[in-house]
Protein backbone atom coordinates (compact mmCIF):
# COMPACT_ATOMS: atom_id res chain seq x y z
CA UNK A 1 0.00 0.00 0.00
CA UNK A 2 1.27 3.48 -0.88
CA UNK A 3 2.43 5.68 1.99
CA UNK A 4 1.25 9.29 2.19
CA UNK A 5 4.37 11.40 2.65
CA UNK A 6 5.67 14.95 2.37
CA UNK A 7 7.52 15.78 -0.85
CA UNK A 8 10.94 16.15 0.80
CA UNK A 9 10.46 12.89 2.69
CA UNK A 10 9.26 11.12 -0.45
CA UNK A 11 12.26 12.20 -2.52
CA UNK A 12 14.82 11.51 0.21
CA UNK A 13 13.31 8.10 0.84
CA UNK A 14 13.10 7.00 -2.78
CA UNK A 15 15.79 8.76 -4.82
CA UNK A 16 19.48 7.95 -4.31
CA UNK A 17 22.65 9.17 -6.03
CA UNK A 18 23.31 7.10 -9.13
CA UNK A 19 19.71 5.96 -9.52
CA UNK A 20 17.91 5.66 -12.82
CA UNK A 21 15.00 8.06 -12.40
CA UNK A 22 12.07 8.63 -14.74
CA UNK A 23 9.87 11.73 -14.43
CA UNK A 24 7.01 11.24 -16.87
CA UNK A 25 4.06 13.32 -18.02
CA UNK A 26 3.45 14.06 -21.69
CA UNK A 27 3.00 17.87 -21.83
CA UNK A 28 0.28 17.45 -19.18
CA UNK A 29 0.93 16.66 -15.46
CA UNK A 30 4.72 17.01 -15.53
CA UNK A 31 6.10 16.44 -11.98
CA UNK A 32 8.09 19.69 -11.90
CA UNK A 33 8.02 20.23 -8.13
CA UNK A 34 9.40 16.77 -7.54
CA UNK A 35 12.27 17.57 -9.90
CA UNK A 36 12.98 20.76 -7.92
CA UNK A 37 13.11 18.74 -4.70
CA UNK A 38 15.67 16.38 -6.30
CA UNK A 39 17.75 19.47 -7.14
CA UNK A 40 17.36 20.83 -3.59
CA UNK A 41 18.49 17.54 -2.10
CA UNK A 42 21.59 17.63 -4.31
CA UNK A 43 21.19 14.21 -5.92
CA UNK A 44 24.05 13.42 -8.29
CA UNK A 45 25.03 10.97 -11.05
CA UNK A 46 21.42 10.27 -11.94
CA UNK A 47 20.45 8.56 -15.16
CA UNK A 48 17.45 10.65 -16.14
CA UNK A 49 14.81 8.94 -18.29
CA UNK A 50 12.02 10.81 -20.05
CA UNK A 51 10.34 10.67 -23.46
CA UNK A 52 10.31 14.46 -23.77
CA UNK A 53 12.89 16.21 -21.57
CA UNK A 54 11.73 19.79 -21.26
CA UNK A 55 12.10 22.61 -18.73
CA UNK A 56 12.34 20.51 -15.56
CA UNK A 57 15.05 18.27 -17.06
CA UNK A 58 16.85 21.36 -18.38
CA UNK A 59 16.89 22.58 -14.77
CA UNK A 60 18.05 19.24 -13.31
CA UNK A 61 20.80 18.92 -15.93
CA UNK A 62 21.90 22.53 -15.40
CA UNK A 63 21.93 21.92 -11.65
CA UNK A 64 24.30 19.00 -12.11
CA UNK A 65 22.04 16.11 -11.08
CA UNK A 66 22.52 14.07 -14.22
CA UNK A 67 25.21 11.77 -15.61
CA UNK A 68 23.14 10.37 -18.46
CA UNK A 69 19.93 11.13 -20.32
CA UNK A 70 17.68 8.47 -21.90
CA UNK A 71 15.20 10.29 -24.13
CA UNK A 72 13.50 10.82 -27.50
CA UNK A 73 12.90 14.58 -27.81
CA UNK A 74 14.60 17.29 -25.78
CA UNK A 75 13.28 20.78 -26.36
CA UNK A 76 11.19 23.64 -25.07
CA UNK A 77 7.83 22.81 -26.71
CA UNK A 78 6.74 25.55 -29.07
CA UNK A 79 9.72 27.72 -28.09
CA UNK A 80 12.99 26.09 -29.11
CA UNK A 81 16.12 24.61 -27.61
CA UNK A 82 16.86 23.51 -24.07
CA UNK A 83 19.95 25.66 -23.48
CA UNK A 84 21.13 23.83 -20.36
CA UNK A 85 20.84 20.48 -22.13
CA UNK A 86 22.75 21.88 -25.11
CA UNK A 87 25.42 23.42 -22.87
CA UNK A 88 25.96 20.03 -21.23
CA UNK A 89 26.12 18.12 -24.53
CA UNK A 90 28.03 20.74 -26.54
CA UNK A 91 30.35 22.10 -23.80
CA UNK A 92 30.21 19.67 -20.84
CA UNK A 93 28.74 22.30 -18.50
CA UNK A 94 28.25 21.74 -15.61
CA UNK A 95 29.27 18.15 -16.41
CA UNK A 96 29.42 15.87 -19.45
CA UNK A 97 26.08 14.26 -20.28
CA UNK A 98 25.91 10.85 -21.86
CA UNK A 99 22.97 10.42 -24.23
CA UNK A 100 20.93 7.29 -24.95
CA UNK A 101 18.66 8.39 -27.73
CA UNK A 102 15.46 6.76 -28.98
CA UNK A 103 12.22 7.68 -30.75
CA UNK A 104 8.91 8.27 -28.94
CA UNK A 105 7.57 4.94 -30.17
CA UNK A 106 10.71 3.20 -28.95
CA UNK A 107 10.63 4.84 -25.51
CA UNK A 108 6.91 4.12 -25.11
CA UNK A 109 7.44 0.48 -25.98
CA UNK A 110 10.43 0.21 -23.63
CA UNK A 111 8.14 1.29 -20.78
CA UNK A 112 5.48 -1.16 -21.98
CA UNK A 113 8.02 -4.00 -21.83
CA UNK A 114 9.06 -2.89 -18.35
CA UNK A 115 5.45 -2.76 -17.16
CA UNK A 116 4.81 -6.19 -18.72
CA UNK A 117 7.73 -8.01 -17.12
CA UNK A 118 9.26 -8.66 -20.53
CA UNK A 119 12.94 -8.09 -21.34
CA UNK A 120 12.15 -6.38 -24.65
CA UNK A 121 9.47 -5.01 -26.95
CA UNK A 122 9.11 -5.19 -30.74
CA UNK A 123 8.15 -2.38 -33.08
CA UNK A 124 8.41 -1.15 -36.66
CA UNK A 125 10.98 1.55 -36.20
CA UNK A 126 14.53 2.87 -36.51
CA UNK A 127 15.28 0.99 -39.71
CA UNK A 128 17.41 3.11 -42.00
CA UNK A 129 17.97 5.86 -39.43
CA UNK A 130 21.31 6.85 -37.90
CA UNK A 131 19.82 6.19 -34.46
CA UNK A 132 20.39 2.54 -35.30
CA UNK A 133 24.12 3.37 -35.69
CA UNK A 134 24.56 5.35 -32.47
CA UNK A 135 22.12 3.80 -29.98
CA UNK A 136 23.30 0.50 -28.52
CA UNK A 137 19.92 -0.35 -26.98
CA UNK A 138 18.44 -1.43 -30.32
CA UNK A 139 18.59 -4.74 -32.14
CA UNK A 140 17.01 -6.27 -35.23
CA UNK A 141 14.62 -9.13 -34.54
CA UNK A 142 13.13 -11.58 -37.04
CA UNK A 143 9.51 -12.71 -36.97
CA UNK A 144 9.58 -16.50 -36.49
CA UNK A 145 6.43 -16.83 -38.61
CA UNK A 146 6.96 -14.43 -41.54
CA UNK A 147 10.72 -13.85 -41.54
CA UNK A 148 10.13 -10.12 -41.49
CA UNK A 149 12.87 -8.10 -39.73
CA UNK A 150 11.69 -5.63 -37.08
CA UNK A 151 13.35 -3.75 -34.24
CA UNK A 152 13.64 -4.85 -30.62
CA UNK A 153 14.16 -2.38 -27.76
CA UNK A 154 15.08 -3.43 -24.21
CA UNK A 155 12.67 -2.90 -21.31
CA UNK A 156 13.03 0.24 -19.20
CA UNK A 157 12.99 -0.54 -15.47
CA UNK A 158 13.70 2.74 -13.63
CA UNK A 159 14.81 2.51 -10.01
CA UNK A 160 12.23 5.21 -9.35
CA UNK A 161 9.39 6.54 -11.47
CA UNK A 162 7.88 9.89 -10.51
CA UNK A 163 4.61 11.23 -11.94
CA UNK A 164 2.08 13.92 -11.04
CA UNK A 165 -1.67 13.21 -10.89
CA UNK A 166 -4.80 15.18 -10.12
CA UNK A 167 -5.90 13.23 -7.05
CA UNK A 168 -5.31 10.41 -4.63
CA UNK A 169 -7.49 9.06 -1.86
CA UNK A 170 -6.26 8.58 1.70
CA UNK A 171 -5.45 4.93 1.02
CA UNK A 172 -3.06 6.00 -1.75
CA UNK A 173 -5.11 5.10 -4.80
CA UNK A 174 -4.18 7.55 -7.58
CA UNK A 175 -6.49 9.01 -10.23
CA UNK A 176 -5.51 10.99 -13.33
CA UNK A 177 -7.43 12.06 -16.39
CA UNK A 178 -7.06 14.02 -19.60
CA UNK A 179 -3.86 13.22 -21.47
CA UNK A 180 -2.41 10.36 -19.41
CA UNK A 181 0.57 9.74 -21.66
CA UNK A 182 2.85 6.90 -20.61
CA UNK A 183 2.44 7.38 -16.86
CA UNK A 184 0.75 4.06 -16.08
CA UNK A 185 3.45 2.13 -17.92
CA UNK A 186 6.22 4.20 -16.31
CA UNK A 187 4.91 3.56 -12.78
CA UNK A 188 4.35 -0.16 -13.40
CA UNK A 189 7.84 -0.42 -14.96
CA UNK A 190 9.58 1.23 -12.00
CA UNK A 191 10.99 -0.62 -9.03
CA UNK A 192 9.74 2.22 -6.80
CA UNK A 193 7.33 5.06 -7.52
CA UNK A 194 6.36 8.45 -6.15
CA UNK A 195 3.17 10.19 -7.23
CA UNK A 196 2.67 13.86 -6.44
CA UNK A 197 -0.98 14.95 -6.55
CA UNK A 198 -2.91 18.20 -6.62
CA UNK A 199 -5.03 17.02 -3.70
CA UNK A 200 -5.76 14.10 -1.43
CA UNK A 201 -9.49 13.42 -1.19
CA UNK A 202 -11.78 11.05 0.70
CA UNK A 203 -13.22 9.37 -2.37
CA UNK A 204 -12.18 9.13 -6.01
CA UNK A 205 -15.53 9.55 -7.72
CA UNK A 206 -15.38 8.07 -11.22
CA UNK A 207 -14.40 10.50 -13.99
CA UNK A 208 -14.70 10.13 -17.77
CA UNK A 209 -11.31 9.32 -19.21
CA UNK A 210 -9.74 8.74 -15.81
CA UNK A 211 -7.32 5.95 -15.05
CA UNK A 212 -6.64 4.69 -11.53
CA UNK A 213 -3.34 3.37 -10.22
CA UNK A 214 -4.22 1.20 -7.21
CA UNK A 215 -2.38 1.97 -4.00
CA UNK A 216 -0.62 -1.41 -3.97
CA UNK A 217 1.42 -0.60 -7.09
CA UNK A 218 2.53 2.83 -5.84
CA UNK A 219 5.28 3.32 -3.23
CA UNK A 220 4.48 6.81 -2.00
CA UNK A 221 2.04 9.67 -2.60
CA UNK A 222 2.74 13.31 -1.75
CA UNK A 223 0.22 16.16 -1.90
CA UNK A 224 1.86 18.95 -3.92
CA UNK A 225 -0.62 21.57 -5.14
CA UNK A 226 0.46 23.15 -8.44
CA UNK A 227 3.10 20.44 -8.53
CA UNK A 228 3.03 20.38 -12.34
CA UNK A 229 3.48 24.13 -12.96
CA UNK A 230 4.44 25.46 -15.54
CA UNK A 231 2.79 22.49 -17.25
CA UNK A 232 -0.89 22.03 -16.47
CA UNK A 233 -3.24 19.83 -14.48
CA UNK A 234 -6.56 19.43 -16.26
CA UNK A 235 -9.37 20.59 -14.01
CA UNK A 236 -6.95 22.54 -11.78
CA UNK A 237 -4.87 25.04 -13.77
CA UNK A 238 -3.79 25.82 -17.31
CA UNK A 239 -0.39 25.64 -18.92
CA UNK A 240 1.75 28.70 -18.13
CA UNK A 241 2.81 29.32 -21.72
CA UNK A 242 4.46 32.57 -20.73
CA UNK A 243 6.91 30.82 -18.44
CA UNK A 244 7.91 28.41 -21.23
CA UNK A 245 8.79 31.49 -23.29
CA UNK A 246 10.57 33.20 -20.39
CA UNK A 247 12.60 30.06 -19.80
CA UNK A 248 14.33 30.59 -23.11
CA UNK A 249 15.85 33.80 -21.80
CA UNK A 250 16.51 32.56 -18.26
CA UNK A 251 18.30 29.44 -19.46
CA UNK A 252 20.36 30.98 -22.28
CA UNK A 253 23.35 31.85 -20.13
CA UNK A 254 24.86 30.17 -17.12
CA UNK A 255 24.67 33.19 -14.83
CA UNK A 256 21.00 34.01 -15.25
CA UNK A 257 20.21 30.31 -14.93
CA UNK A 258 22.26 29.99 -11.75
CA UNK A 259 20.61 33.04 -10.24
CA UNK A 260 17.16 31.78 -11.18
CA UNK A 261 17.92 28.39 -9.64
CA UNK A 262 19.20 29.96 -6.43
CA UNK A 263 16.20 32.21 -6.07
CA UNK A 264 13.35 29.94 -7.16
CA UNK A 265 14.52 26.44 -6.34
CA UNK A 266 17.38 26.37 -3.87
CA UNK A 267 16.27 29.20 -1.61
CA UNK A 268 13.55 27.75 0.64
CA UNK A 269 12.26 31.29 1.14
CA UNK A 270 12.19 31.91 -2.60
CA UNK A 271 8.98 31.99 -4.61
CA UNK A 272 8.59 28.64 -6.36
CA UNK A 273 8.44 28.74 -10.13
Amino acid sequence: MAELVGLAEGISGLVRDGDTVALEGFTHLIPVRAGHEIIRQGRRELTLVRMTPDIVYDQMIGAGCARKLVFAWGGNPGVGSLHRLRDAVERDWPAPLELEEHSHAGMANRYVAGASGLPFAVLRGYRGTDLARHTRTLAPITCPFTGEVLTAVPALRPDVTIIHAQRADRRGNVQLWGITGVQKEAVLAGHRSLVTVEEVVDDLDPRPGAIVLPSWVVTAVAEVPRGAHPSYAQGYYDRDNRFYQEWDGISRDRETFTEWLAEHVLDPAGSPR
Binding site: W73, S81, V89, E90, S103, L123, G178, I179, V182, N241
Partner: protein, 252 residues
Protein backbone atom coordinates in the same frame (compact mmCIF):
# COMPACT_ATOMS: atom_id res chain seq x y z
CA UNK B 1 -4.20 42.19 -50.51
CA UNK B 2 -0.78 41.11 -49.21
CA UNK B 3 0.47 38.10 -47.29
CA UNK B 4 3.68 36.74 -45.83
CA UNK B 5 5.72 33.89 -47.29
CA UNK B 6 4.84 31.88 -44.20
CA UNK B 7 1.14 32.45 -44.78
CA UNK B 8 1.51 31.27 -48.38
CA UNK B 9 3.37 28.20 -47.15
CA UNK B 10 0.70 27.35 -44.59
CA UNK B 11 -2.13 27.87 -47.07
CA UNK B 12 -0.40 25.69 -49.67
CA UNK B 13 0.00 22.91 -47.08
CA UNK B 14 -3.64 23.21 -46.00
CA UNK B 15 -4.79 22.94 -49.62
CA UNK B 16 -2.74 19.74 -50.04
CA UNK B 17 -4.82 18.06 -47.30
CA UNK B 18 -8.00 18.24 -49.39
CA UNK B 19 -9.49 14.77 -49.76
CA UNK B 20 -7.36 13.22 -47.02
CA UNK B 21 -9.16 11.50 -44.16
CA UNK B 22 -6.69 11.59 -41.29
CA UNK B 23 -3.53 13.41 -40.39
CA UNK B 24 -0.84 12.82 -37.75
CA UNK B 25 0.00 16.36 -36.69
CA UNK B 26 3.13 17.89 -35.22
CA UNK B 27 3.01 21.24 -33.45
CA UNK B 28 3.72 24.53 -35.23
CA UNK B 29 3.01 25.11 -38.93
CA UNK B 30 1.75 21.54 -39.52
CA UNK B 31 -0.86 22.00 -36.79
CA UNK B 32 -1.80 25.41 -38.18
CA UNK B 33 -2.15 23.99 -41.71
CA UNK B 34 -4.18 20.98 -40.57
CA UNK B 35 -6.56 23.12 -38.53
CA UNK B 36 -6.89 25.55 -41.42
CA UNK B 37 -7.79 22.61 -43.70
CA UNK B 38 -10.55 21.56 -41.29
CA UNK B 39 -12.03 25.04 -41.53
CA UNK B 40 -11.56 25.47 -45.26
CA UNK B 41 -12.51 22.26 -47.03
CA UNK B 42 -12.13 19.21 -44.76
CA UNK B 43 -14.37 19.56 -41.68
CA UNK B 44 -14.17 15.78 -41.14
CA UNK B 45 -10.37 15.58 -41.31
CA UNK B 46 -9.29 13.46 -38.33
CA UNK B 47 -6.43 15.09 -36.45
CA UNK B 48 -4.25 12.72 -34.43
CA UNK B 49 -1.66 14.20 -32.05
CA UNK B 50 1.05 12.03 -30.50
CA UNK B 51 -0.18 12.96 -27.04
CA UNK B 52 -2.89 10.38 -27.69
CA UNK B 53 -5.71 12.68 -28.77
CA UNK B 54 -7.50 11.02 -31.69
CA UNK B 55 -9.97 13.17 -33.62
CA UNK B 56 -9.14 16.41 -31.83
CA UNK B 57 -11.17 19.46 -32.93
CA UNK B 58 -9.36 22.34 -31.21
CA UNK B 59 -11.38 25.55 -31.15
CA UNK B 60 -8.15 27.51 -30.89
CA UNK B 61 -4.69 26.62 -32.17
CA UNK B 62 -2.96 24.44 -29.56
CA UNK B 63 0.42 25.72 -28.38
CA UNK B 64 1.66 22.23 -27.54
CA UNK B 65 0.85 18.75 -28.84
CA UNK B 66 -0.67 18.00 -25.46
CA UNK B 67 -2.96 20.96 -24.73
CA UNK B 68 -6.06 20.27 -22.65
CA UNK B 69 -8.11 21.63 -25.54
CA UNK B 70 -7.06 18.63 -27.63
CA UNK B 71 -8.17 16.12 -24.98
CA UNK B 72 -11.46 17.92 -24.37
CA UNK B 73 -12.44 17.95 -28.06
CA UNK B 74 -11.06 14.54 -29.13
CA UNK B 75 -13.19 11.56 -30.15
CA UNK B 76 -10.89 9.42 -28.02
CA UNK B 77 -7.92 10.05 -25.75
CA UNK B 78 -5.59 7.07 -25.64
CA UNK B 79 -2.25 6.38 -23.99
CA UNK B 80 0.98 7.33 -25.76
CA UNK B 81 1.97 3.68 -26.30
CA UNK B 82 -1.46 3.07 -27.82
CA UNK B 83 -1.35 6.03 -30.20
CA UNK B 84 1.95 4.79 -31.62
CA UNK B 85 1.17 1.05 -31.58
CA UNK B 86 -2.52 0.84 -32.47
CA UNK B 87 -2.99 4.03 -34.48
CA UNK B 88 0.25 5.08 -36.18
CA UNK B 89 2.21 1.84 -36.68
CA UNK B 90 -0.43 -0.15 -38.63
CA UNK B 91 -0.62 2.57 -41.30
CA UNK B 92 -4.16 3.73 -40.51
CA UNK B 93 -3.27 7.39 -40.92
CA UNK B 94 -3.28 9.01 -44.35
CA UNK B 95 -0.85 11.89 -43.90
CA UNK B 96 2.04 12.49 -41.54
CA UNK B 97 3.15 16.09 -41.27
CA UNK B 98 6.81 16.66 -40.46
CA UNK B 99 9.22 19.57 -40.04
CA UNK B 100 12.98 19.37 -40.56
CA UNK B 101 16.16 21.17 -39.57
CA UNK B 102 17.92 19.56 -42.54
CA UNK B 103 16.38 17.85 -45.56
CA UNK B 104 18.31 16.13 -48.34
CA UNK B 105 17.56 15.46 -52.00
CA UNK B 106 15.95 12.11 -51.10
CA UNK B 107 13.68 13.62 -48.46
CA UNK B 108 15.64 12.25 -45.53
CA UNK B 109 15.18 14.37 -42.42
CA UNK B 110 17.61 15.47 -39.72
CA UNK B 111 16.29 16.82 -36.42
CA UNK B 112 19.09 15.39 -34.24
CA UNK B 113 22.48 17.11 -34.63
CA UNK B 114 24.28 19.60 -36.87
CA UNK B 115 27.91 18.62 -37.42
CA UNK B 116 29.80 15.46 -38.28
CA UNK B 117 30.39 14.27 -34.72
CA UNK B 118 27.24 12.94 -33.12
CA UNK B 119 28.90 12.84 -29.69
CA UNK B 120 30.17 16.41 -29.91
CA UNK B 121 27.80 18.22 -32.30
CA UNK B 122 28.06 21.83 -33.44
CA UNK B 123 24.37 22.15 -32.61
CA UNK B 124 22.39 19.70 -30.56
CA UNK B 125 18.80 19.62 -31.93
CA UNK B 126 15.80 18.25 -29.99
CA UNK B 127 15.97 14.80 -31.57
CA UNK B 128 13.61 12.27 -33.09
CA UNK B 129 10.40 12.48 -31.09
CA UNK B 130 7.70 10.71 -33.05
CA UNK B 131 9.12 11.56 -36.47
CA UNK B 132 10.92 8.34 -37.48
CA UNK B 133 7.79 6.21 -37.12
CA UNK B 134 5.55 8.90 -38.63
CA UNK B 135 7.88 8.93 -41.65
CA UNK B 136 7.85 5.13 -41.75
CA UNK B 137 4.18 4.32 -41.19
CA UNK B 138 1.85 7.08 -42.41
CA UNK B 139 0.45 6.35 -45.88
CA UNK B 140 2.02 9.59 -47.12
CA UNK B 141 4.32 12.21 -45.58
CA UNK B 142 4.15 15.97 -46.10
CA UNK B 143 7.19 18.00 -45.03
CA UNK B 144 7.01 21.68 -44.15
CA UNK B 145 10.30 23.57 -44.06
CA UNK B 146 11.50 27.07 -44.92
CA UNK B 147 13.78 27.19 -47.91
CA UNK B 148 17.48 27.87 -47.27
CA UNK B 149 20.83 26.32 -48.18
CA UNK B 150 21.24 25.48 -44.49
CA UNK B 151 18.05 23.43 -44.49
CA UNK B 152 18.16 21.95 -48.01
CA UNK B 153 21.44 20.07 -48.01
CA UNK B 154 22.95 17.53 -50.36
CA UNK B 155 23.33 15.08 -47.48
CA UNK B 156 21.93 15.39 -43.98
CA UNK B 157 24.40 15.23 -41.07
CA UNK B 158 22.18 12.65 -39.36
CA UNK B 159 19.28 10.61 -40.73
CA UNK B 160 16.62 10.98 -38.04
CA UNK B 161 13.68 10.04 -40.26
CA UNK B 162 13.94 8.17 -43.52
CA UNK B 163 12.53 9.61 -46.73
CA UNK B 164 13.72 7.67 -49.78
CA UNK B 165 16.99 6.64 -48.14
CA UNK B 166 19.65 6.33 -50.83
CA UNK B 167 17.08 6.30 -53.62
CA UNK B 168 14.75 3.95 -55.48
CA UNK B 169 13.88 0.72 -53.65
CA UNK B 170 15.36 1.82 -50.33
CA UNK B 171 12.03 2.02 -48.49
CA UNK B 172 11.03 -1.45 -49.66
CA UNK B 173 14.44 -2.85 -48.60
CA UNK B 174 13.99 -1.29 -45.16
CA UNK B 175 10.43 -2.62 -44.80
CA UNK B 176 8.95 0.88 -44.53
CA UNK B 177 5.31 0.50 -45.52
CA UNK B 178 4.20 4.09 -46.09
CA UNK B 179 4.87 5.79 -49.42
CA UNK B 180 7.26 8.30 -47.86
CA UNK B 181 7.50 12.07 -48.49
CA UNK B 182 5.25 12.81 -51.47
CA UNK B 183 5.22 16.57 -50.90
CA UNK B 184 7.56 19.21 -49.52
CA UNK B 185 5.99 22.63 -49.02
CA UNK B 186 8.31 25.57 -48.43
CA UNK B 187 7.96 29.34 -48.30
CA UNK B 188 9.03 29.46 -51.96
CA UNK B 189 7.29 26.53 -53.61
CA UNK B 190 6.49 22.84 -53.66
CA UNK B 191 8.84 19.89 -54.26
CA UNK B 192 7.79 16.37 -55.17
CA UNK B 193 9.90 13.23 -55.60
CA UNK B 194 10.76 12.27 -59.16
CA UNK B 195 8.78 9.07 -59.87
CA UNK B 196 11.92 7.35 -61.22
CA UNK B 197 14.87 8.75 -59.23
CA UNK B 198 12.96 9.65 -56.02
CA UNK B 199 14.95 12.93 -56.01
CA UNK B 200 13.02 15.95 -54.75
CA UNK B 201 12.13 18.13 -57.72
CA UNK B 202 10.69 21.63 -57.84
CA UNK B 203 7.21 21.11 -59.29
CA UNK B 204 5.58 24.36 -58.29
CA UNK B 205 6.59 27.88 -57.24
CA UNK B 206 4.42 30.13 -55.16
CA UNK B 207 2.89 33.23 -56.71
CA UNK B 208 5.63 35.78 -57.37
CA UNK B 209 8.59 33.44 -56.80
CA UNK B 210 11.26 32.91 -59.46
CA UNK B 211 12.60 29.33 -59.88
CA UNK B 212 16.14 30.73 -59.73
CA UNK B 213 15.44 31.94 -56.20
CA UNK B 214 14.50 28.40 -55.20
CA UNK B 215 17.57 26.85 -56.82
CA UNK B 216 19.74 29.43 -55.07
CA UNK B 217 18.19 28.46 -51.72
CA UNK B 218 18.78 24.73 -52.29
CA UNK B 219 22.04 22.99 -51.41
CA UNK B 220 21.97 20.58 -54.32
CA UNK B 221 21.50 20.94 -58.07
CA UNK B 222 17.72 21.24 -57.86
CA UNK B 223 15.80 19.76 -60.79
CA UNK B 224 12.88 21.87 -62.00
CA UNK B 225 9.78 20.30 -63.53
CA UNK B 226 8.72 21.40 -66.99
CA UNK B 227 6.06 22.69 -67.12
CA UNK B 228 6.53 24.28 -63.71
CA UNK B 229 3.36 24.74 -61.70
CA UNK B 230 2.35 27.99 -60.04
CA UNK B 231 0.71 28.17 -56.62
CA UNK B 232 -2.34 30.41 -56.81
CA UNK B 233 -2.14 33.23 -54.25
CA UNK B 234 -4.04 32.82 -50.98
CA UNK B 235 -7.72 33.71 -51.28
CA UNK B 236 -9.33 36.20 -48.97
CA UNK B 237 -11.14 33.35 -47.25
CA UNK B 238 -7.93 31.41 -46.74
CA UNK B 239 -6.07 34.41 -45.33
CA UNK B 240 -9.01 35.44 -43.19
CA UNK B 241 -9.43 32.04 -41.58
CA UNK B 242 -5.67 31.61 -41.17
CA UNK B 243 -5.26 34.96 -39.44
CA UNK B 244 -8.27 34.27 -37.25
CA UNK B 245 -6.70 30.93 -36.26
CA UNK B 246 -3.31 32.44 -35.52
CA UNK B 247 -4.90 35.32 -33.65
CA UNK B 248 -6.41 32.83 -31.23
CA UNK B 249 -9.13 31.16 -33.18
CA UNK B 250 -12.88 31.18 -32.94
CA UNK B 251 -13.39 30.25 -29.31
CA UNK B 252 -16.73 28.46 -28.93
Amino acid sequence: MSWTAEEMMTVAAARALAGRGSCFVGIGLPSTAANLARRLHSPDLVLVYESGTVGAKPRALPLSIGDGELAETADAVVSVPEVFNYWLQPGRIDVGFLAAAQLDRFGNINTTVIGDDYRRPKVRLPGAGGAPEIAASCREVFILVRHSRRAFVDKVDFVTSVGYGDGPGARERLGLRGRGPVLVVTDLGVLRPDPVTCELTLTQVHHGVDPGQVRAATGWELAVADPLGLTPPPTGEELGLLRELVAGGEKV
